[in-house]
Symmetry: C2
Subunit: 338 residues, 2 copies
């Protein structure tokens, strides 16, 4: 695909040791794509040398002297680190040299800088964070995941537009279904904001399925699930906690003694296939949507495989006009309502 991705190579728990090999692995798989590696040149060059070559012509280094700390206050990162790898990567999107940026750094700082540099799209009050979660049929996008704690019905409608266009741009699905997260399927249930959002969604022209409940996320009832950032953050972290607990318990039962270890060995191919299917690394790369540019947030602890997935999502979204699709859809809705 014909796209250039700017990569904040210094962010995340591991920095260039992970981000640079992931970028080069991505380039090898996707002919025509380019990356701009952003960070301290000496660190990047060392990592490139170790990986064995820079894929000449498709991989460029953009120097940035500073790094945003993982626990740094977003306001501080924004005001005082104008030459951070995160900021420079986003500036590359702003200037049009790249069609998307990826960072594994501090979420708060990434959101603050992205919002400040890129600005939100017309009609969008606040950007949101969306991620893909696996289900029995494939995956769906859930948003918002924590950028917006208190949301109005209009915000939820905007999230639905952004989630739908994300599914269209990255997964090439033309009329994604949208579910409104609620605590009952009947339209009368839920709080006032959710009820109002239901009304707006029914008249939006989106492919609105209706209310969905928590279990519908993993059943794959709809392609997109919208909720406020408090609920979305709780459901995401609860899911992570439950999955980790179950994985730990399964491991404990198979490593209890020499007999159970032998069982694990015997069952390895099936256990391994299961592990691959539910591997959360495949879903790495949350989208900051609603901005005038594509920004993808990788998990801070992402390994090379996981970070490569985040780059891939950034490239797909950039190549398939995510931002323009959201803008067009918002404009069409504005037009219809006036």
């Amino acid at each position: 695909m014909d796209v250039t991705v700017a990569i904040d190579c210094m962010g995340g728990d591991h920095g260039p040791v992970v981000t640079v090999p992931a970028a080069l692995a991505f380039l090898r798989k996707h002919a025509g794509s380019k990356v701009i590696l952003v960070g301290r040149p000496e660190a990047l060059e060392a990592a490139i040398a170790e990986t064995g070559g820079a894929l000449a012509g498709r991989c460029e280094i953009q120097p940035a002297s500073e790094v945003v700390g993982m626990d740094e206050a977003p306001a501080n990162a924004m005001r005082n680190k104008k030459d951070s790898s995160m900021r420079v990567a986003i500036d590359l999107v702003k200037s049009g040299r790249a069609q998307a940026a990826v960072s594994a750094g501090n979420t708060g700082a990434l959101m603050a800088i992205s919002r400040f540099v890129l600005k939100t799209l017309p009609g969008i009050d606040r950007p949101a964070i969306a991620t893909a979660l696996p289900n029995r049929k494939g995956h769906s996008y859930v948003l918002d995941l924590g950028a917006n704690v208190d949301c109005t019905a209009e915000h939820l409608l905007q999230f639905a537009v952004m989630g739908s266009m994300l599914m269209t741009a990255i997964d090439h699905k033309s009329r994604p279904t949208v579910g409104l997260l609620n605590i009952g399927e009947e339209a009368i249930k839920g709080n006032d904001i959710v009820k109002q959002a239901g009304e707006l969604l029914r008249n939006s022209g989106l492919n609105f399925h209706g209310n969905v409940e928590g279990d519908d996320i993993y059943k794959g009832t709809t392609d997109v699930v919208v909720c406020d950032g408090f609920v979305g953050n709780v459901l995401l972290k609860t899911s992570e906690g439950l999955a980790q607990m179950l994985a730990t318990m399964l491991r404990e039962e198979f490593t209890r003694n020499i007999f159970t270890r032998a069982m694990a060995l015997a069952a390895m191919p099936a256990l391994k296939r299961f592990k691959n299917r539910v591997d959360h690394r495949r879903y790495n790369g949350a989208a900051l949507v609603g901005l005038r540019g594509v920004v993808i947030k990788s998990h801070g602890s992402a390994d090379e495989f996981a970070f490569e997935q985040a780059i891939y999502r950034a490239a797909e979204a950039g190549a398939n006009r995510l931002v323009e699709r959201i803008a067009e859809r918002m404009a069409a809705m504005e037009g219809a309502s006036t």
Copy 2:
């Protein structure tokens, strides 16, 4: 234990075929306890005869001619079915003949009838629904799970009292820790209601741990986790959906072909131990707390084992003065604040 539990034997998806054998199994394990089976006498007698005896003197039948439908409107059940098995079971708690009631019927109707018949405790604005969720160390109680969609900070404080007393009454833990569900551990995060609730909890005299996040539930960071009913319902159903998806995928990998079936056979003891550990039936029995009486809600689809757990929880809560403990704690807090 010295306690009498009133059982709505007609409620739930299966009725007396499940509820009666579960009640008799409970009696056999707990000397000194009694049950009052509520429902249509002919249906109950038939179920008792099949189980092989009524444990004379410890099992009584209380006739009730009506049944609340699983999809019946709560208002209708409350107004027009005064001789329903659900209503009669709760009446037995009200009159003092039973110390607790259990039903697998319609949650909305159970809450409406319980509230109408038993009333809320002094200082409690609204009853809540609490359930035990498993974690790496044992289990914790989470509330509210859907009875209260919009909550004030005071409601969250009341939930914390109710959850703490539940842990004390059922699990005999004297100073349970309380976590306030939020989207960040820092006190500055979250919405205004959660921030205010944090202030109230810090001054409550409860064993307040501070903010917790979704993954802390399954880590077992605190004994009690409080949140509003919208968030609680979403997190519970999301957990159910994820657990079901993972179980389905694990089963699929082991039943893919004759080789994987052989692997499953070889790994059976470890897989079975894992299944037992995460068996949601062990956690059946949500408590309707904040009322002047103990009411436990079983899952509608509960089998005999699961329904027996719900009866056990009702008996423990009734025998260990759950209601009085909540009332005393609320009175102490009132006294301290005036």
